[in-house]
């Protein structure tokens, strides 16, 4: 291809370790004994569970309803019985729990009825809704909902398909491109139509020649302005901003996104999932995952979402000296807190790490301000400055130095001669800043509510006073009208006292006027009965001594 390529600043050339796992075809992982499907599958959104324990579900049946702007639906990865809805540890560096649906597979793997979605006879909003309902999120790792990323459908000229897969060891996108090139490009075509782009570029790192060889003929067969471009294998060429820079020369400034410059990026895995969703009506219930590192049989497996990692590991056979497992790549991944965590949509790789393959980091030494990190930083930041400010907890200053432009790629820590875990500092600073922002929002809300409550209490007090005054005035006016002459209020006396006196007088008059009503107009028979009772009562009262001796009334 004749396209001119651009360069991004910095980056590193690391040993790719791709051959280990890229040479065997994608295999279907066996059904696990049970599936733990987290309802938190996209960034910052948790779906609402709509199944109950004991319920039978089919493969692809919706178990989580999307909630919120960033929500996407969650589906049962296989047919079986829901056995539990509870909290389980998630594949996350925190090792914290999230809400999960636990499904026991019945082994039949029976699909729910699948209907392809006809893009030609549907509105754009319906198509985006379909993506949300199929649970399509970015499979590159960030799991950002695709229907949100597709935006408004205008202003994007170039769609970039990200097949760079720049992290060492990971080969799931490589295998996918080799084996399912036509499907990926069909999905990319759907995405291109939805986003309204004219051009489609596929960026693949040149350390994957087989993938490029598979994609080029597929693109040629489809026709229509698709460029498959080999880019130099420099980590992190697969970063969104870096890939856009390499392919188009556009540099996305601080606070902007690719969409603001007419470019949007999707992962090849996402494009494949989009194809399955539209052409086969299949929601996203599985993904390709690389098992590699210190294992006997490295390779790629098609894995159901929710499969516990410890059920996958025997497929690859970790060697005995494995000391920990890393989810994601060696640069940006994290050590798994536990092995029973489930695979989620963003999990692309599990690496068995051994001290021989990944030697423990030498002790951290002081920063000597050599500037190596600044030369390696692909975001063109000053990592050592960020390090100083983060370490000193001077978060305002760190933000001034654009901490939030850091993509946490780990290049700085990789080249640091003092072996400082720089990214840990940035992550710490970022999460502290977010926590502070949350606290500030909460404090602002509390202030507003407190002030409103004070205002409301004042208002209620005033309203009560006004009501009382109005009532008093009304009573006085009524009294005046009824006849001021009857009881002339002594001039100069307290009007309140006069009111009380008037009320007392009225009450007395009322009491005098009211005779016991139920003894009026009695029939002669009732009157006779009453008289008889009265006579008996009088007789009892006249003989008290005799009454006292009556049995049953003895109080003692």
């Amino acid at each position: 291809m004749s396209a001119r390529l651009f360069q991004f600043h910095g980056g590193i050339k690391a040993n790719g370790h791709k051959r280990e796992s890229s040479e065997s075809p994608i295999q279907q992982a066996p059904l696990p004994r049970r599936l733990v499907v987290p309802l938190r599958q996209s960034t910052r959104a948790t779906a609402r569970c709509i199944v109950e324990p004991g319920e039978k579900v089919l493969k692809g049946q919706r178990i989580g309803e999307p909630e919120g702007f960033l929500g996407t639906a969650v589906h049962a990865p296989t047919s079986g019985t829901v056995v539990e809805f509870g909290r389980h540890v998630m594949a996350h560096p925190s090792g914290l729990e999230t809400r999960c649906v636990v499904i026991e597979p019945d082994g039949a793997d029976r699909w729910i009825e699948r209907k392809p979605f006809d893009l030609r006879h549907a509105t754009r909003a319906d198509a985006l809704g379909w993506l949300r309902d199929c649970g399509i999120v970015g499979l590159g790792g960030a799991t950002f909902p695709s229907h949100v990323k597709l935006g408004t459908g205008s202003g994007v000229d170039t769609l970039i398909l990200n097949g760079a897969e720049c992290e060492p060891w990971i080969t799931c996108d490589d295998r996918l491109m080799r084996e399912r090139a036509a499907d990926i490009l069909a999905g990319a075509g759907i995405l291109r139509e939805l986003i309204g782009a004219r051009r489609l570029m596929v960026g693949i790192e040149d350390n994957k020649p087989e993938a490029i060889e598979a994609m080029r003929p597929a693109a040629g067969a489809l026709g229509g302005n698709i460029e498959v471009i080999a880019i130099p294998a420099i980590y992190p060429a697969g970063g969104e901003k870096q890939l856009i820079r390499v392919l188009t020369g556009i540099e996305i400034p601080y606070g902007k996104l690719g969409g603001d410059f007419g470019v949007q990026c999707f992962n090849v895995g996402t494009a494949h999932a989009v194809y399955r969703a539209f052409d086969h009506g299949e929601p996203l219930v599985s993904r390709v995952l690389t098992l590699t590192g210190n294992v006997e049989r490295p390779g790629n497996w098609e894995v159901l979402i929710g499969t516990p990692v410890d059920e996958l590991l025997p497929l690859a056979g970790p060697k005995p000296d494995t000391d920990r497992y890393v989810m994601g790549g060696p640069m940006m991944g994290f050590a798994l807190p536990r092995l029973d965590v489930p695979v989620v949509k963003g999990s692309n790789c599990v690496i068995s790490a051994s001290p021989a393959l990944f030697p423990p980091a030498p002790p951290e030494q002081n920063c000597i301000r050599c500037g190596e990190c600044a030369r390696a930083c692909p975001a063109e930041l000053q990592p050592f400055e960020l390090y100083w400010f983060s370490r000193a907890k001077n978060f305002g200053k760190a933000q001034e130095y654009h901490l939030f432009d850091c993509i946490e790629c780990g290049c700085c820590a990789y080249v640091c001669p003092s072996h400082i875990p720089l990214v840990d500092y940035y992550r710490f600073a970022k999460s502290e800043i977010w926590a502070r922002e949350r606290e500030k929002t909460a404090a602002d809300l509390a202030r507003e509510r407190f002030e409103f409550r004070n205002y409301r209490q004042e208002r209620e007090k005033e309203e009560k006073a006004a009501k009382l005054a109005a009532k008093a005035a009304a009573t006085r006016a009524k009294l005046d009208a009824e006849g001021a002459g009857a009881e002339p209020a002594p001039a100069g006396e307290d009007p309140k006292k006069a009111l009380i006196a008037a009320a007392l007088a009225r009450a007395k008059a009322q009491q005098a006027a009211t005779a016991p009503k139920n003894t009026d107009n009695l029939s002669p028979a009732t009157q006779a009965e009453i008289d008889a009772i009265e006579a008996r009562r009088q007789a009892t009262q006249q003989a008290p001594a005799g009454a006292d001796a009556t049995p049953g009334t003895d109080a003692r």
């Binding site: 875990p421 509390a446 407190f450 409550r453």
Partner: protein, 183 residues
Amino acid sequence: MLTALIVMTGIAIVLGAALGYAAIRFKVEGDPLVEKIDAILPQTQCGQCGFPGCKPYAEAIANGDADINQCPPGGEEGIRKLADLLGREFKPLSEEHGVEKPKSVAHIDERTCIGCTLCIQACPVDAIVGAAKQMHTVVEPLCTGCELCVAPCPVDCIAMVPVTDTVQTWKWKYPVTEIRRVA
């Protein structure tokens, strides 16, 4: 001599008029210092400082009636910020006003609640919903953890529950291992 007097008087009148106009035109509503102090305070509205809310405490600090170390929810960090803002020395949290505690929210045991509305009246941020003889409940995201509802409850059904981390709110740890100083 006379000319000088006239000139000086003229200048005085002109400047005086300009200043007088500016005082009216650019009048500062409220005390900006109070706003700045109030922005640092955590808005728990708990009254542990001895004032009925964060704003009154901010006003008291601005007037010099209160010290900067009377806010337990703000903690040491809050005191440091106030010290920075006001150019004063940092001092540790005054013990008579309480101790720094992890953030908690009130939780009403709904089986015990008798629906007396006393906690609703005590809540400074209207975070409790309910009505007379109806069960009450705390709207958790609005609760500041001030504990003002705990004491009025006649059946002791309100407990303070510490807020636990979720995947959303979890924070990365400070990577520096502190070496404890041995005295």
